[in-house]
């Protein structure tokens, strides 16, 4: 991965000082510390900070076509560039061995439709000087970030928003409607961001910028059907070759590749393919002192099974607290959990060991139906068919054994917690109602004048935003769709993914998010994904003879990190200072009296619930975010 930044359509045709793009690139130097490159024309200035991975000598950007009428800066990887060259571009006069040049060559051959040929993760700026068009293109699922700020027909774009805020190009203010999305769904609804004026190019979309227009086009989306017929064996065989190729093409690199190992099913599956292909591999894991969160036992078993060179980082409370402010600087958004911080500590270890690339298992839960929230929706729908049943809601108890409330042996509580809007199975957010109820309690801490600006009818907003209708896909696939369009790009792949990896100049590669795998899974009948309440059934079938039984049979454990317990360890109470009355008043978002009571509860050691941890982390991280970006 790399960083890109630049300006399209200078206002009045007057280029700003070269220093603007230089400053924009300097702010994202962590994404591309190896080389810088620039292209300056009559209309555009495109900049590139490179993390060299493929064609170390020749791959510096921008890359051009022969007559230099097409220029490209690009963050990401095109994994099928070798096949594209041999299939479509055998006569093209390449001057590098890089995947970037394939973008230019394919564009010349197919025009903007070239995107559909790409298999990879990418944020691309392509300028065609003959047509006087510039394209900002983002990969299908949102692995690589791409933000922009439009002022008239001038556009500033960058891999991270801090570049757009450079040199006061924009006075940063908080986007309150987007904050409302954030406290319901953990992320603003794309293309909005938490900054007024800054948008992202949505996953699966591209912007076409001309001198007098800016237009957005969608070229890809998630779809679901049950159209793949065949026996379990036949389907498993097809998936096997697809996943094997998805892993193999993600090994294309001129620097060594390592892998993350969580101890769960998904990272273990990736290791099984690497092992099959004889890759001698280093693995990297996180461990925690809290037994509930620690997966070390499984990590060691998998590492030993596949004979990897294993490395781990113990995410101590103090380390999490010390790195929390820096985490927010990189995520550019507040957080509901501290979970991203240990991921930054892990990528630091990867970097220190001399690696620039890791394969990782994100995406499998969204694509193959692994999350508990999908089960929750399935059980609630099952229960809604007989709301008086005492047994049906009891199934929910199996879902969250790690949550304290399941110790309470009363179905009445389950009914109260999960029975909300039980019969609204056509709601796009049917699966999310319980979680959103907890996370949106942050709104109770907002000052009244701020709360009044929030639009809390999130179901309506989601309906307007997404091109699916209620009932189109059924409860399970709708939940998969919403997860894949909101939390996956907005949190998992960004705050917990790209940003934490790139903070230490490490690129993540995601075999489960190969679009061929996504499309294959999208066409499978649901019973192959969630069989009864057995999640990721087809994946388990696929690897049942290849991975340790302990991993295959273990209950799913979501990745979590300690929140309040860790944040209380900050040096000289540095983090608590952000929650002082004066700091709260300065930002004019939260009610200082309520925040004070929450802090007191946290200090007393009584704030143990999921809700308290979430409230504390969200309010603290919002205060840090305001301090670093809005009031800076």
């Amino acid at each position: 991965m790399c960083g890109i930044a630049g300006i399209i359509n200078y206002a009045d045709g007057v280029p700003p000082s070269d220093k603007l793009v230089s400053t924009m690139l300097e702010l994202i130097q962590h994404r591309g510390p190896d080389t810088y490159g620039n292209y300056i024309s009559k209309f555009n200035h495109l900049g590139h900070a490179r993390l060299s991975i493929i064609d170390l000598e020749g791959g510096d950007q921008p890359i051009y076509n022969i007559d230099k009428s097409v220029s490209v800066v690009f963050n990401g990887e095109i994994y099928n560039y070798i096949e594209l060259k041999s299939q479509y571009l055998s006569d093209y006069p390449f001057y590098t061995f890089s995947d970037t040049e394939v973008i230019v060559a394919l564009y010349e051959k197919f025009g903007i439709d070239f995107i559909s040929y790409l298999n990879g993760q990418f944020a691309i700026c392509l300028y065609d000087s003959k047509l006087e068009k510039t394209y900002l293109i983002r990969d299908r699922v949102g692995i690589c970030p791409l933000f922009y700020f439009q002022k008239g027909n001038t556009i500033l774009f960058a891999s991270e928003m801090k570049s757009i805020l450079a040199r006061n190009q924009l006075t940063p203010t908080i986007n309150l409607p987007a904050f409302s999305d954030f406290i319901h769904l953990w992320t603003p609804l794309s293309p909005d961001t938490l900054f007024n004026g800054i948008k992202e190019v949505s996953p699966g979309c591209y912007l076409e910028v001309q001198l007098d227009s800016v237009r957005n086009f969608r070229y890809w989306d998630f779809t679901y059907s049950s159209s793949t017929l065949g026996s379990l064996r036949e389907i498993t065989c097809q998936l096997d070759s697809l996943l094997e190729d998805a892993v193999n093409i993600r090994l294309r690199s001129d620097v060594p590749v390592a892998a993350y190992l969580s101890g769960g099913l998904d990272s273990t599956i990736i290791l099984s393919y690497l092992k099959k292909n004889g890759v001698n591999l280093s693995t990297f894991s996180l461990t925690f002192s809290d037994e509930q969160l620690n997966e070390e036992k499984f990590q060691k078993e998998v590492s030993s099974h596949f004979s990897t060179r294993h490395n781990s980082v113990q995410a101590e409370y103090q380390l999490i607290a010390d790195n929390f402010i820096s985490t927010i600087w990189h995520t550019e958004t507040p957080l509901f959990r501290t979970s991203p911080t240990p991921m930054m500590l892990l990528s630091s270890k990867v970097h220190d060991k001399g690696y620039k690339v890791v394969l990782t298992g994100e995406g499998a839960d969204e694509v193959f139906g692994g999350y508990d929230i999908f089960k929750e929706a399935k059980i609630r729908e099952f229960w809604s068919r007989n709301p008086d049943s005492l047994w049906r809601p009891g199934l929910l108890r199996k879902l969250y054994p790690y949550l304290d409330f399941t110790k309470i042996n009363s179905s009445d509580y389950l009914k109260q917690v999960f029975g909300h809007n039980l019969n609204n199975t056509d709601d796009l957010l049917y699966a999310y109602q319980t979680r959103a109820k907890t996370t949106s309690s942050v709104a109770d801490f907002l000052l009244k004048d701020i709360a009044s600006e929030m639009d809390n009818n999130i179901e309506n907003k989601v309906r307007k935003k997404f091109p699916v209708t209620s009932g189109q896909y059924g409860v399970f696939n709708t939940a998969q769709y919403i997860e894949s369009k909101t939390i996956m790009p907005g949190y998992i792949l960004s705050s917990q993914g790209d940003r934490m990896l790139m903070a230490n100049s490490v690129e993540g590669r995601y075999p489960f998010l190969d679009h061929r795998v996504i499309e294959f899974a999208g066409n499978l009948r649901n019973s192959l994904k969630m069989n009864g309440l057995n999640e990721k059934f087809i994946l388990k079938e696929l690897v049942k003879d290849r991975i340790p039984k302990a991993v295959l049979k273990r209950p799913k454990q979501p990745y979590r990190a300690p929140d309040i317990k860790a944040l209380m360890y900050s040096k000289n109470n540095q983090l608590l200072d952000y929650l002082s009355e004066s700091e709260i008043n300065k930002n004019h978002l939260f009610d200082p009296s309520r925040v004070n009571k929450l802090v007191k509860k946290a200090l007393s050691g009584r704030a143990k619930s999921v809700k308290d941890n979430m409230l504390f982390t969200t309010i603290l991280s919002t205060q840090i975010w305001m301090d670093k970006f809005i009031n800076h």
């Binding site: 409330f405 110790k407 309470i408 009445d412 309690s441 009296s593 009584r606 809700k611």
Partner: protein
């Protein structure tokens, strides 16, 4: 009076306020989203410490614990027994 103490505990620890108007004696903790699923355990812990009672598994039901009045009736009953 224990009822006032309990009310203050709920207000300060779950609503994070001292504003008495935010909680009626018959308000359902769960329906009004005052206490979430995990918070019930905090209430139980508090009652056991403050009232010197032991709450059995089968007593952890909304009928006993889901409003100020329900809790007070339940605690009174327990202490009588």
């Amino acid at each position: 009076m224990f009822k006032d103490k309990l009310r203050l505990f709920i207000l300060e620890n779950f609503l994070f306020t001292e504003d008495q108007s935010e909680l009626e004696d018959d308000d359902s903790f769960m329906e009004k989203e005052i206490i979430d699923s995990t918070g019930i355990l905090e209430v139980i812990e508090y009652l056991e410490e403050e009232c010197g009672i032991k709450i059995e598994d089968e007593e952890m039901i909304p009928d006993n614990l889901d409003s100020i009045n329900k809790v007070i009736n339940f605690v009174n009953q327990k202490q009588k027994n």
